[in-house]
Amino acid sequence: MIDLTLILAAGVASGTVLLFAAIGEIFAERAGVLNLGVEGMMLFGAVAGFSVAAATGNPWLGLVVAMLAGGLLSLLHAVMAIHLRAEQVISGLALTFLGTGLARVLGDGLSSVGAVATLPRLTVPLLAEVPLIGPVLFREQSVLTYVGFLLVPLAVYWIDRTRPGLHLRAVGERPAAADAQGIDVVRLRYLYVLVGGLLAGLAGATITLAISPGWFGDQTTNGRGWIAIGLVIFAQWSPLRAALGAYLFGAIFRFIIDIQGVPAVLGFPNPFQAGRSATFFLEMLPYAFVIVVVVIGSREALRRRVGAPAALGIPYVRGERGG
């Protein structure tokens, strides 16, 4: 049988990947910039982090390089979207192609590297003993999982309770109003797109240096950048809801992998056992689910007029008429 605790614990671990990427995207979008390049930034971060860790034997160095790699790509999008006022959807898609392409080239031959030193796993002393929660959240988790735990309240606090967060929200909702109050719209947008890139790079490194170490080409991220973008809408741009969604999806992903190893359920042969064609159907489900969530989520956002930052995707030009 399947051990639920283990699935949930592994789900939290793989949910951390989605968490970083989604919260990064939330920052960028709350500032009014849509960046659809998450998948590319993640993959580029993943390969950069992995190859540095493989070459130096230092996963921490790999982690830093991964974040910088994601950040670097995001600045490209920032220049296109903020300075050149390009269509953000197109620019973001281009970024995904670019990141994926770069990762393929750089990753050539990396899949045979095999094991590299990964980031440490920790068990939190007392908390790990709490029934139910302990084994799921605090036992033998990667340090990055704990970073994720801390990032969520930090992001909520930053956005809702601080002056920089107030400025962030103003820039994404009504940049002209922020500008009239002396807030530097362009600088803040650059900054938060960069934050999004750093976190996407971190998400990539979370895969290759912590959760499932190794390089598997495009399959390393396997579309999870897109799921993170879906989560942002599902979460209505709230880091807390994004975290819940991320862990939920993490668990679903995990469950899909685990169920493939089970030969029979309640005496019936498992139709999803590895090797059977139904497996593909199963693996498709999270993505289908994201589409449904995005459709429902955005309808909901439209209907209740909540959620999406009002200036999302719209370049800002001081004093332009008719906006």
């Binding site: 002056r163 109003a177 922020a178 002396g182 007029r305 009002a310 008429r321 008719g322």
Partner: protein, 526 residues
């Protein structure tokens, strides 16, 4: 053209702020051409000028939003460099922009904090709210610090803007067309507040297109045209409305137009017991019935938010409703927008940039939007570009739309020109019924004259016109009949309205009790 004729500042009243020789150009226009302007401590100095004269540009320079190409700004006699709005705020200058600069999803307190350097990091909204409350009560402005901006009426939002400036320590207040969006009673309240502020040694620059208002509130008046000052520091005692209008526009303006007698014809529009919801899902129209005849202008008077916008949307097919909307005998209530268009309903919407035009498309595209399905502009599945261009050319000439070229995106047009374009398109389609919402909001006297003339001409040609306006003077000048709407219902009808009815109509717009007795010819509509 009248030359600058400045009155020397009395040495007894010090100057709060002074702009000397300001030059600011944008690609293709010199918006400010060596402009001098000064404001005395404790005065209300009105700035007048036609659309595009450069008023907002000058004020944006004073508020630190635009850097002038040339010129100097002095605050309290000292030259200052205003590199950003923050510098201006620090120098005690605050501006309420023509289009409010508030973040709708945030609270009043959050909006007030936006322009400040404090707190350092953590927001303490409770404390800020208390501080705003005490400041607001000190000066007698009513605000609710924890309310979100989108929940507030326009008048309330304006009070928030004023409180925000004062909270930032502004002693020089710039109000760019503050009354353009206010109901008469709200305007009166604003004026009381402004007087209280000047009594407390604040100085105010006040921009408006409404000459009557300017004459009643201003201590001095400066007029701009085409980037230059044409009259500086006039005392209101010495000038008349006609004077001011002539100085603004450069020619005499007829403020009241000739209205020929037109015998109303058959019923064109009949709205029967219509109910509809607003954007937030609350009832906006609660059983509205009205009729408009051919050759008749029916005015709707209402304070913003009483269902008049929704009424226009229902009639033009943009909002779902129950009940019947009959145009020339055909019920279009259930139908798509196209049913309304095909029944000959023209629409001059309230939101000119969002609904009335496509800002990034050219004059041509915007002008043919209503005709693109008809010959000769359409040919089979194709548009005939040269036919479209010649159509646009004719309209541009006939309606005097000034624009660099026909291919210019319409977002570049001034408010008056954009409105002429929309009217040109709608009137050219020869509507049976024209629904015009706030057609002259924010326009200068010259532009208003032109648009009123267009509406009167259309009426003479036998079209039915439903005119929705918060401007009572406009309704009185044009309408054959005025209906007052309050909270989603037509509460009163006034036949052949005259200036004597203004106060009573105003009272009805506010839902006032006992207003009925004030209107002689009024009949309450069931």
């Amino acid at each position: 053209m009248a030359g600058p004729q400045g009155t020397q500042p009395r040495t007894s009243t010090p100057l709060a702020i002074e702009a000397v020789g300001i030059v600011k150009s944008f690609p293709g226009v010199i918006a400010n051409d060596h402009v001098d302007f000064d404001l005395r401590v404790g005065e209300i100095h009105a700035l007048l000028g036609e659309n595009g004269a450069g008023k907002s540009t000058l004020m944006n320079v004073l508020a630190g939003l635009y850097r002038p190409d040339e010129g100097e700004i002095r605050v309290g006699g000292e030259p200052v460099q205003l590199r950003s709005p923050r510098d201006a705020i620090a120098a005690g200058i605050g501006m309420v922009h023509q289009h409010f600069a508030l973040v709708p999803s945030q609270t009043v307190a959050e909006n007030v904090l936006l322009g400040l350097d404090r707190p350092r990091f953590r927001l303490d909204l409770k404390r800020t709210e208390a501080e705003i409350m005490s400041l607001a009560t000190d000066i007698g402005l009513r605000v609710e610090p924890s309310a979100r901006i989108w929940q507030l009426s326009i008048g309330e939002q304006q009070r928030v803007e004023i409180v925000k400036m004062l909270f930032h320590g502004a002693r020089i207040l710039i109000l760019d067309e503050p009354t353009a969006v206010l109901a008469p009673q709200e305007t009166a309240e604003l004026f009381e507040n402004l007087r209280a502020l000047t009594d407390a040694a604040r100085s105010i620059i006040f921009i408006s297109h409404k000459l009557g208002e300017v004459l009643s509130i201003a201590d001095r008046i400066t007029v701009m045209r085409a980037g230059k000052v044409t009259a500086a520091g006039l005392e209101p005692e010495g000038v008349t409305r006609a004077d001011l209008a002539r100085r603004m526009v450069g020619r005499p303006v007829l403020e009241s137009l000739e209205r020929t007698k037109v015998e109303p014809g058959a019923v064109v529009l009949s709205v029967e017991d219509v109910t509809a919801l607003n954007d937030r899902g609350l009832p906006a129209l609660r059983g509205v019935s009205l009729q408009v005849h051919a050759g008749e202008i029916v005015g709707i008077a209402a304070v913003a938010g009483n269902g008049q916008s929704e009424l226009a949307q229902v009639i033009t097919g943009l909002r779902a409703c129950t009940g019947r909307v009959v145009v020339d005998g055909r019920d279009i209530a259930a139908g798509p927008v196209r049913a309304a268009i095909e029944s000959g309903v023209g629409h001059v919407p309230e939101d000119r940039a969002g609904v009335g035009s496509a800002p990034n498309l050219s004059l041509i595209d915007n002008l043919i939007m209503r005709r693109f399905r008809q010959q000769p502009i359409t040919r089979g599945p194709f548009l005939d570009a040269s036919a479209a261009r010649s159509k646009a050319q004719t309209l541009q000439g006939a309606y005097e739309i000034s624009a660099p070229t026909l291919d210019t995106p319409v977002r570049i047009l001034s408010g008056g020109n954009l409105q002429r374009l929309i009217l040109a398109r709608e009137i050219d389609a020869a509507p049976r019924l024209l629904v015009a919402v706030q057609p002259t909001r924010g326009l200068d006297v010259g532009a208003i004259e032109g648009i009123h003339q267009l509406l009167l001409d259309l009426r003479e040609q036998g079209a039915a016109i439903l005119l929705i306006s918060e401007e009572l003077e406009e309704l009185l000048a044009l309408a054959d009949r005025i209906l007052v709407m309050y909270e989603g219902q037509v509460t009163t009808a006034v036949e052949r309205p005259s200036a004597a009815d203004i106060d009573a109509i105003g009272l009805h717009m506010m839902g006032g009790e006992g207003a009925d007795s004030a209107i002689d010819r009024a009949s309450t509509v069931g």
